[in-house]
Symmetry: C2
Subunit: 505 residues, 2 copies
């Protein structure tokens, strides 16, 4: 028989690879059927005008992988062991229609701009109030490089061996001490599970809890990453409103326990701080109803007036609060390091669940971070960042005051963003978001800004403004542009009421 | 009133911190009740013989956190806003008795020695045949350092901003090309989701699939990390036997589809390679029954006689095979990088599920790895490692042959471990494991070695021997010691049958 092989001498694959691929393809497609003979290498080489060695090597590989078999002097044949029926036509023609998949709802979270919004154009960057970003210019890159070099030089088998899935021991020790100093938490290193960030930690907790069998009480509005995860795990969600003192604990049912998810330091998205009174009420309720609390402390280190309030996990003393921390806001999201603190007695189960999920984070990042914390460099970094972000917050508040007069702002005393209620008579926040982008300013309605509102009411009149990675001059420019935009939009949307004369011109 | 405060001048906390903590503790324990007055700062400072400023600062912090309130000239009082009832006694006395937790079964996997086995003593190291380890001395540490420095110098905002949860684009492009070259897979970068290793990828796939509604067909014996994960997700497991050609496809039901989990390159633990014939049968079965295949290709790069066999995902052409890859065996487990390849059309859902699980891996590792692959350094590393591991395998086989004569070994043609059936008359593998350790040799029965046997039959007579990180001289020494051990144990266990004379001495 003759084999129809075509070679492309300019292709990146060698002639031998091309021969292998084409013969294999003939076999899989059924053109060469089991038991059929192949031409001798010499004959095929002559026919194709290429080296016999090329064909021999291709045949060798086909034989090694089981596609063809040599029967000595009888020649070379397509393996009889292969299924006689052609396979590939079936497999390759149809689209995937396997078992029904659980396709998830789209998820917005800190890790991405909403899909409808294009990424910033590098040549013409926008001033972007995207949320939860640490300042790129403040990353301690020289220190980090120095520590990286030191650690990799002494790495030994740490680069090749598996570590503890619960995290590097040095890092957990450093974290336990840091949490004691800064969050009032008395925890042992064993209670700390290093994760790739809060979301990974939240998954860990959900898998420890029996998500389908307890009601989940969650802030309204809340962080999308939490709400969508709980929902995907089959939890029943019960929204609890948030006011100026945070989560309204009184709205919890008196007699039913469950799991509570809260962001007490700086409620996401409203930015309120859960008052001490409410914290103690919440702990008492949890105790009375035998409930579990998940405390997501995502940007706890940035409180501009006074010190951070002691964490729920510090007041509870390690009994029924699961605590989530992250370095994504305080240092850099590109490091992908966070941690969960589990109640005393759950350290071993948590470690086992972690090893079912994944075998932990990169050794190098953990080793560098451990020394960064232990040496006091992290505390110094936090002090500097706090000062910088406070200036930017002050600048944002001053700019909003200058251009818009008295404004309704929440969440300014802490964190990396505020929520600004648009002035009365402004268009829908989602329209402002779209139009601002055309003028080079990135602002986000609550639903675009990784927040979820169970009622959908707060989405339309407020913007989240993340200010931590924008320089003061740009903040001023952006607020000025927003003022112009709202002025122009008001003309456009209410032509006869506010500016009747200009409209007729 | 007088406050009972005790200071430790040698403690690491400042006097101010100690004062804060102790007063806070009095309030939380109910000794200081809401509305009670606190002594004036001057009086307390005199009483305690410390600076008044120290007490003032502690009071300021207590007030800032809401524990106490100043009422001007009337003095300072415990906040009335706090719940009157003492909280902490309840919270701190009881042990955790929250909602019932789903406590998992212990899990053994590549990431850890079994808990019953102590870690190697550094001063007196054992020769350890633990499985799945890449050679520490072969890690390209100088190249890695150079690439780390290059990447961090050009990091820009990559250290502080969130990246794509599906992984760094450069790495996914490099991987797509590498998979085409080495595994015969035609995949687009969008189909690749970077993970922290195979286990993370397996979780991703389980969450895309409706695990509770399909039967899971799994190799028997199999990898514990997979079996225990599937079980924890509520899947019903159906073990399918493994013979010398791998997974026995004919044992799958003719008429029922589901999800199949296989390790075709080097079955874990037996080490057999799934024959091409079976591969095509399996794909045809999957097509006929509308099933999904999960292919875990954990140590595919190490085939010592001939080239690696084309992956199932390469034969399937991206329709119904989910593929799992990892750098843990080929480069180093401390990097924590692996990947999943999902069928065409599932790239977007997979990215969304990934962002629900976690927001991806560290930027630096991904960036370095992308360049390492793209520049051809990874291919060169693999060639060197393959040569090294082949020598070690040859040495192991030769040593076993020399000391034990004809031996039953499976899995030698590929991978990083073999399974050795103990000579007839040997004690239980678990006893050998314990006793060998006392003689400085780490060997593992199948159930200790991250394998799971549904019948429990293969656990007792075989050991897994991971040879990739042990130097040849040590391999010889270890096998010699094992020979002595088995000789001695035979004397001990069958005193009159084999060595009746020595026993009486």
């Amino acid at each position: 028989m003759e084999l129809d092989l075509r070679f492309n001498k300019n292709a990146s694959e060698t002639l031998q690879e091309q021969a292998f691929e084409q013969i294999r393809s003939h076999i899989l497609s059924g053109r060469l059927r089991p038991g059929m003979s192949l031409p001798p290498t010499r004959q095929l080489a002559e026919q194709l005008n290429i080296s016999r060695n090329t064909i021999s090597l291709a045949y060798d590989r086909l034989a090694a992988e089981g596609y063809i078999e040599s029967r000595g002097r009888a020649g070379t044949f397509v393996s009889r062991a292969l299924p006689d029926e052609s396979l590939s036509a079936d497999v390759r023609s149809g689209s995937t229609n396997g078992p029904k998949l659980d396709l998830p709802s789209p998820l917005l979270c800190f890790s991405g701009h909403p899909p409808s919004v294009t990424r910033p154009d590098v040549a013409n960057p926008i001033i972007d109030f995207w949320i939860g970003r640490s300042d790129p210019d403040s990353f301690p890159v020289d220190t980090w490089r120095r520590l990286l070099l030191r650690k990799i030089s002494a790495a030994g088998p740490n680069l090749t061996e598996y570590g503890d899935p619960a995290g590097l021991s040095d890092l957990r020790i450093a974290l336990a001490s840091h949490l004691g100093r800064t969050r009032g938490m008395l925890v042992s290193p064993e209670q700390i599970i290093v994760t790739s960030g809060s979301q990974d930690g939240l998954n860990l907790i959900c898998r420890l809890l029996n998500t389908q069998h307890h009601p989940f009480f969650i802030e309204n509005p809340c962080y999308q990453g939490a709400a969508f995860l709980f929902r995907s795990m089959g939890a029943s969600l019960h929204p609890i409103p948030v006011d100026q003192n945070g989560f309204v604990v009184e709205m919890l049912p008196r007699d039913t326990g469950g799991v509570v998810f809260v962001t007490p330091s700086h409620q996401y998205p409203t930015g309120t701080t859960l008052s001490l009174e409410r914290r103690l009420q919440l702990l008492k309720w949890a105790n009375d109803t035998n409930s579990i609390i998940i405390e997501d402390d995502y940007d706890c280190h940035f409180r501009y007036d006074g010190r951070p309030v002691t964490a729920l996990a510090g007041l509870d003393n390690g009994q029924r609060v699961f605590y989530l921390g992250t370095f994504s806001k305080s240092l850099g999201a590109g490091l992908r390091v966070g941690f969960a603190v589990v109640p005393q007695g759950l350290a071993d189960p948590a470690r086992i669940v972690k090893s079912q999920m994944n075998h932990g984070q990169a050794w190098l990042e953990q080793a560098v971070l451990a020394e960064f914390i232990e040496s006091g460099l992290y505390d110094r970094h936090l002090r500097r960042a706090r000062k910088l972000y406070k200036s930017r917050r002050d600048c944002l508040l001053a700019s909003l005051g200058r251009y818009f007069g008295s404004t309704e702002i929440t969440g300014a005393e802490a964190g990396l963003h505020v929520v600004w209620r648009l002035p009365p008579g402004s268009p829908d926040a989602r329209v402002v978001q779209q139009r601002a982008r055309l003028r080079g300013v990135g602002v986000y309605g609550l639903d675009s800004g990784a927040a979820y509102d169970f009622d959908g009411t707060s989405n339309r009149d407020s913007l989240v403004l993340g200010y931590s990675s924008i320089q003061e001059k740009s903040i001023e420019t952006a607020i000025c542009r927003l003022h112009e935009l709202l002025h122009d939009m008001r003309r456009e949307f209410t032509p006869y009421a506010v500016f009747p004369r200009q409209q007729s011109a």
